[in-house]
């Protein structure tokens, strides 16, 4: 019997169809893995479940435990017993387990004058933890001191700690932050819940976890269900292929001559450690070469960018630009090495409240500083020129940056760095949130500067299509080290996915 049923869900965003007539069901006492690569539509589906997004009009329907749900009614969904645990589990680190457990409930066992009866609250919390088999967690421990697994367990305990019955638990990449190998503890808890008849939706990138715990699998790709299967019929490799979309032909331009790395490398990582994620990466990028970096979240790709942009310190090892060891990181310091970093998230690039022209030129204002005056007209000329060259729409340099679409804004940020004539360009998720046409434009610009100006490009991307289409070489990171390097024709998206999940 299905405890959750979604039928005929379609959802469009401007320029793309995120979900196309998707059905999704969870049975009582079932663990159902929902898989798919970035942009496949799985997070859109979760957000429709939670009421955050409304589906497009049409015959879509949603029911929980036999009751019909209204789309967009998050409160109703919660009342029907659906709980969501996200990667950011939302605990308050400074409070104790007990306090965190009670925070979500909203009601306290209160005595005279509203005094919280912490004694009885505590007893209830201990009972709850014991009931879930979490008796190893001290209710008085401060959450910030707990291990990552314990914190996730507390988050789950909190989600269950309400009066109404729980019918469905959605774990939305809840294990992404956990070290692999420690998730087994969490599985025990999940299995106990399943035994009580709770249906679980399990969203993850870790295929071995899927094989270990899930009963059934649904794989989404480009907003469509491409696989619905019992886990018993699958292997990790077959799953990876489905996710990557083996059946789609490669888009690689095979006519392109493989580039021989010419002179000495201009960007070199030597046994670089950053934080706890990047644990000794060694690779090099040569002039004119486009090197992709791929890896699952937690593999250390993110840390490479954080290090270069100056947000995270270098643990150990060495980074060389143009053969010189880099002592100071950050956009300003790297500019002296003629290197530029384009961060991924929009909020880290977009200077809200400034115009397109101002956002474009902020990377280097020196050309307009002549004769003791900032030449606004020269700036405008250059901005207009860049707008034309990168076909940015609308083409008004005085336009507020926040009124541009994601793709056009991204072109502004790419232009911000390209006009500084870097010798090394580091890009993080350059096509993330960018429509198809915009993505193609941006990748074309990148390829052009590499081919025509000998710029060395490091492309950190989770979009395997991009990597396949543009890279001369792809570095695969796993567990913080370079696990594999693919060159030229070896670079196919299924190989990349396979190696990432290996």
């Amino acid at each position: 019997m299905n405890t959750l049923e979604l039928a005929a869900v379609t959802k469009s965003f401007p320029g793309q169809r995120a979900l196309d007539n998707v059905d999704f069901t969870v049975a009582k006492g079932e663990i159902h893995a929902l898989l798919g690569h970035n942009g496949s539509g799985k997070s859109t589906l979760i957000k429709i479940m939670s009421g955050f997004y409304l589906p497009d009009g049409g015959p879509a329907s949603y029911s929980v435990a036999g009751h019909s749900m209204k789309f967009g009614d998050g409160v109703g969904v919660g009342r029907a017993g659906v709980r969501f645990i996200h990667q950011d589990i939302g605990l308050l680190d400074d409070l104790t387990v007990l306090e965190n457990l009670r925070l979500g409930s909203g009601t306290y066992d209160a005595g005279l004058l509203g005094r919280i009866r912490w004694g009885s609250e505590r007893a209830a919390a201990v009972a709850r933890l014991n009931d879930l088999g979490l008796d190893h967690i001290d209710p008085d421990a401060v959450v910030g001191r707990l291990s990552a697994v314990e914190r996730t367990e507390v988050a789950i305990a909190r989600a269950l700690d309400v009066e109404s019955a729980i019918s469905v638990l959605v774990l939305d990449e809840a294990t992404a932050a956990l070290p692999s190998g420690q998730v087994e503890h969490l599985f025990a808890l999940v299995r106990r819940l399943v035994a009580r008849g709770v249906g679980v939706v399990y969203v993850t990138h870790r295929l071995e976890e899927v094989l270990a715990i899930a009963d059934r699998v649904t794989v989404l790709r480009d907003g469509e269900v491409v696989l619905r299967s019992q886990v018993a019929d699958l292997t990790q490799q077959s799953l990876a292929r489905v996710i990557a979309g083996m059946d789609v032909g490669p888009v690689r331009d095979d006519d392109r001559a493989p580039r021989e790395p010419g002179a000495d490398p201009v960007l070199e990582f030597r046994d670089v450690h950053v934080g706890s994620e990047l644990r000794g990466a060694t690779f090099a990028v040569h002039p004119g070469e486009i090197v992709g970096v791929a890896g699952l979240s937690g593999s250390g790709v993110h840390e490479i960018v954080r290090l270069l942009e100056g947000s995270q310190g270098l643990g150990s090892g060495e980074v060389l630009l143009g053969g010189t060891p880099v002592r100071k990181f950050g956009a300003r310091a790297l500019r002296r090495h003629r290197a530029a970093v384009l961060p991924g998230e929009r909020t880290r690039k977009r200077i809200v409240g400034m115009s397109v022209a101002e956002n474009l030129t902020i990377g280097d204002l020196t050309p307009f500083w002549r004769g003791g005056f900032f030449r606004h007209r020269a700036e405008r000329r250059e901005a207009t020129e860049a707008i034309r060259r990168f076909s940015i729409l609308p083409g008004d340099p005085d336009q507020a940056i926040e009124l541009l679409s994601g793709g056009n804004a991204q072109k502004v940020y790419v232009a911000r760095w390209l006009r500084t004539n870097p010798q090394v360009l580091i890009l993080e998720e350059p096509t993330h949130g960018v429509d198809v046409g915009g993505s193609a434009d941006i990748l074309r610009f990148v390829s052009e500067v590499a081919a025509d100006h000998g710029v060395a490009v490091l492309l950190c991307s989770s979009d395997t299509d991009d990597l396949e289409a543009t890279c001369d070489r792809v570095v695969i990171l796993r567990d913080g080290v370079v696990a594999e390097q693919l060159t030229d024709r070896e670079i196919t998206r299924e190989r990349i996915v396979e190696l990432c999940y290996a």
Binding site: A331, M354, A400
Partner: protein, 338 residues
């Protein structure tokens, strides 16, 4: 409180989004229009009194101390941080400069006193900047605390005595004198306003100040030395405040134990009012001057008609809130629209 502060500091910069869309002539010039309307109204209401060179010159001269402080204040505000220690810095500068004259029986050269006092102000700004930038403490809290400390140091130096002896004529002439018929303080404000206008509008530094205020993190990732910008902003603000203190000493002699704190409200009111005009959403020099003008002319005109004293603070406070409400409303509309 810090959150509220951050939000307020955010307001005008974010609201700027609108500036670019369509020709916002009305939005840009509403402020100056109000100023003109006030002047016309009062000219009719107080014939032969309001519109006289003596009255207008005096109105402007009354605002000079606030104007010097507010011009400096533009830098921290434009780079997205609050500096409310300026009151303490003004007081410190008043007391320190007077004390240097008194303890040397007026023999210390005027130029040296001015330089040393400005150096004290710069030090105060460096302390603020260090706490905000290096120790990453909320600027509102830092400057609230440091302002009180500066005030305390002033009282320690004064030690309950009137420090006003032996202030040489050469010094008081600076504040009380005239240049080509224009009182010196007004000359100072004009020069300072031109310099600040030049720096904010016609140097890369000014652009980087605005970028830091609009988004510190994206600006840093785009290569703006945001830490250095913030250091500079706090130092400029404190130096201008101590310049205002010097102006005060040379005009008035010396003051109450807390002369400076009273300038906080009019300066912030003018700066925020100014950020809604000429270049709406950006703290800008012309807007600031018009804002000061609206406040001063408004109060002057009403006082010529005999309004009671409590109206002044009410008028200033009301203008501040009105300005912030504008910024907020426009921010929300931008957020809703994009």
């Amino acid at each position: 409180m810090p959150d509220l502060a951050a939000e307020v500091a955010d307001g005008p910069t974010r609201a700027r989004a609108r500036r670019f869309s369509a020709g916002n002539l009305v939005e840009r010039w509403a402020g100056p229009a109000i100023l003109v309307a006030l002047m016309v109204t009062f000219t009719i209401a107080s014939p032969g009194i309001f519109l006289t060179s003596s009255n207008l010159l005096a109105v402007v001269n009354n605002q000079t101390i606030a104007a010097v402080v507010a011009l400096g204040l533009l830098f921290p505000l434009a780079s997205g941080v609050f500096d409310i220690s300026i009151g303490g810095v003004i007081t410190l500068s008043v007391i320190v400069s007077a004390w240097m004259f008194q303890s040397t029986e007026g023999s210390m050269p005027v130029a040296l006193v001015i330089l040393l006092t400005l150096a004290v102000g710069a030090t105060a700004g460096l302390i603020n900047a260090f706490l905000v930038v290096k120790l990453k403490i909320d600027p509102f809290i830092v400057t609230l605390g440091s302002g009180s400390v500066f005030l305390g140091i002033s009282q320690l130096i004064a030690n309950g005595q009137v420090i006003s002896k032996d202030i040489p004529d050469g010094y008081t002439k600076l504040g009380r004198g005239e240049l080509l018929g224009v009182p010196n303080p007004i000359v100072l404000v004009i020069v300072l306003a031109l310099v600040v206008f030049y720096v904010l509008e016609y140097t890369p530094l000014g652009r980087m100040v605005y970028a830091t205020g609009a988004g510190r993190e994206p600006a840093r990732l785009a290569g703006v030395p945001t830490d250095r910008i913030l250091f500079l902003a706090f130092v400029i603000s404190a130096v201008c405040a101590s310049l205002a203190g010097l102006l005060y000493t040379s005009r008035i002699g010396t003051g109450q134990p807390d002369v400076g704190g009273q300038y906080l409200l009019p300066c912030y009111a003018a700066a925020f009012l100014g950020s809604t005009m000429i270049k709406p959403g950006r703290f800008n020099v012309l807007g600031l001057l018009v804002g000061l003008g609206i406040l001063a002319i408004g109060i002057n005109g009403l006082q010529l008609e005999g309004i009671p004293f409590w109206m002044i603070s009410t008028f200033q406070g009301g203008a501040l809130i009105l300005a912030v409400v504008f910024a907020k409303v426009r921010t929300q509309k931008t957020a809703a629209g994009s």
